[in-house]
């Protein structure tokens, strides 16, 4: 397998369009967690503090376990991806409105998001679900947090500094979805398995 491709935030359209389904990447820089509550809030036109600058940025579908030390500083103690398909109703609009260049999650997303990736130059990156420790190790600092009181810790928007955060491109900016491919293959296999028993 080829070495993973390094991605440094902020990303740009050209770099993102070069990525293809199946590419392994490692991200260094800054990522913003956002899950169900934040997506719904933003898609409905909700307020986003200007410091949370998503332009050319990376959204991570993640509700971390965060612990506040005696010094008041936050520490991320577990931070794997959450299932992305729940953000399908909102993601395309958020990519368009904020100029997001990459979305990290798990399980893949649907046609509407795939079309937004193609149209606006963005990629979907798949992190290993459940790998909360391997991924938390890549978080080097908690830079900020918003919506903590409104939405609670898992649903808050965390600004995280990361180094060599590993993921795989499973939906690219050229209209390809690895998830669609696997789904079609498994549909054929399912028909074969069911037929064989008849």
């Amino acid at each position: 397998m080829n070495n993973p491709k390094p991605l440094q935030t902020p990303l740009n359209e050209e770099r993102v369009r070069e990525l293809h389904v199946g590419d392994r990447v490692v991200i260094t820089g800054v990522i913003f967690t956002a899950r169900d509550a934040v997506h719904k809030h933003l898609a409905a036109g909700g307020y986003l503090p200007p410091e949370a600058d998503l332009r050319d940025g990376v959204i991570y579908h993640c509700g971390p376990v965060a612990v506040r030390g005696d010094d008041g500083r936050w520490q991320i103690v577990a931070a794997g991806p959450t299932t992305s398909c729940r953000e399908e109703p909102y993601q395309a609009e958020i990519i368009r409105r904020f100029g997001v260049r990459a979305v990290i999650g798990k399980g893949g997303m649907g046609h509407k998001t795939l079309e937004a990736l193609r149209q606006h130059g963005c990629v979907y990156l798949h992190a290993v679900g459940g790998a909360a420790q391997v991924l938390a190790e890549c978080v080097t600092a908690v830079e900020d947090v918003w919506f903590l009181d409104e939405f609670g810790a898992p649903e808050a928007m965390w600004k995280l500094a990361v180094a060599d955060f590993p993921a795989v491109v499973t939906m690219d900016a050229n209209g390809n979805s690895f998830h669609e491919l696997i789904r079609m293959g498994s549909q054929t296999a399912l028909a074969r398995v069911l037929h064989a028993s008849e």
Partner: protein
């Protein structure tokens, strides 16, 4: 000792000795602190470690995938993650999920007191970062951070025939909970009739629909029959079985083997990245149904299969671990 008639103050299981109810006037019997520590240890280990049967299943699955595949790289990440979690005493997965306690105890066991104590331990473990604050009011959206509220944590009590208290804990993440499914047979879309072949079609459809979204390779618990509530309840109690056990019922055993083999031919693979391992195990049970109903219920457990159990000694300490 007669089961269920454990005396309150003499020797016997800690069932009746950790009572912290108001009637005891604030007096904390000696067993309470021990039980509290035992429950916190149970939560910590369940969240931060995988039981040996699950580790074995993951190791053997890894060997089925070809080197240099995405599937193999997922397994490498999984193994590294499991080792890291245990060495750092941190959650294997950030979604520490639904907190499901399964308690077997004599009838004299004070269930209300146990629930209060377990809730306290859950809140303490949350403060330590072993559990994520996961209990959200669906109407207001409020998450008070304690992990205790209506319906959370969840308790299933069973009267034991022996004067022994066993406590099992399952932490089940929301991603895999969301891909669970219940079918009412006959199902015209699937061409599934009211027989085992119909059940097979329903179960394999659930695995297909889940794709990688439940964090495959997963384990599925299946309940054939029952009603809508008991179907889900019993599909989940299948997760208390060791993955390497064998179903005593030969028909269900053959059904489980067939489901596992068939699901692993679908090519969904770890994380839905393709590969030979879509499921690690399938476990099934059957409950009597009404003439009008024929449910098949599938619960999905992710690879981060967090389940542990303890047997308490008479002082409330852990006598031994179950898995």
């Amino acid at each position: 000792m007669t089961p269920g008639l454990t005396p309150l103050s003499t020797s016997g299981p800690p069932s009746a000795r950790f009572v912290d109810s108001p009637e005891t006037g604030g007096y904390v019997p000696p067993g309470v602190q021990a039980l509290e520590q035992s429950l916190i240890d149970l939560i910590r280990r369940t969240s931060c470690d995988l039981p040996q049967d699950v580790r074995n299943a993951l190791l053997s699955a890894r060997s089925c995938e070809s080197n240099d595949s995405l599937a193999a790289s997922v397994f490498e990440t999984i193994h590294r993650n499991v080792d890291l979690a245990w060495s750092k005493t941190r959650p294997i997965c950030q979604d520490t999920g639904s907190i499901l306690f399964y308690i077997t105890a004599p009838a004299s066991f004070d269930r209300a007191a146990f629930k209060r104590l377990a809730g306290k331990c859950v809140t303490a473990a949350t403060a330590k970062g072993w559990l994520r604050p996961n209990s959200v009011d669906p109407i207001t959206g409020r998450n008070d951070g304690t992990n205790v509220g209506p319906g959370t944590p969840t308790f299933y009590f069973e009267d034991g025939s022996e004067p022994v208290v066993t406590i099992k804990l399952v932490l089940k993440g929301g991603g895999c909970e969301n891909v669970g499914a219940q079918y009412s047979l006959p199902d015209a879309r699937l061409g599934a009739d009211r027989n085992l072949d119909g059940c097979r079609k329903a179960v394999l459809d659930a695995v297909f629909q889940a794709q990688g979204k439940g964090c495959s390779p997963g384990v599925i618990g299946i309940c054939i029959g029952g009603d809508r509530a008991t179907g889900y309840e019993h599909s989940k109690t299948q997760f208390l079985r060791r993955l390497d056990d064998t179903n005593p019922d030969p028909t269900l055993r053959a059904f489980e083997e067939d489901i596992l083999r068939s699901a692993n031919e679908l090519g969904i693979g770890p994380m839905g990245f393709g590969g030979k391992t879509t499921l690690l195990a399938a476990k099934a049970c059957a409950l009597n149904r009404l003439p009008a109903s024929y449910f098949v219920t599938v619960s999905y457990m992710c690879w981060a299969f967090r389940r542990q159990g303890i047997v308490l000694d008479q002082t409330g300490h852990i006598a031994h671990w179950l898995y």
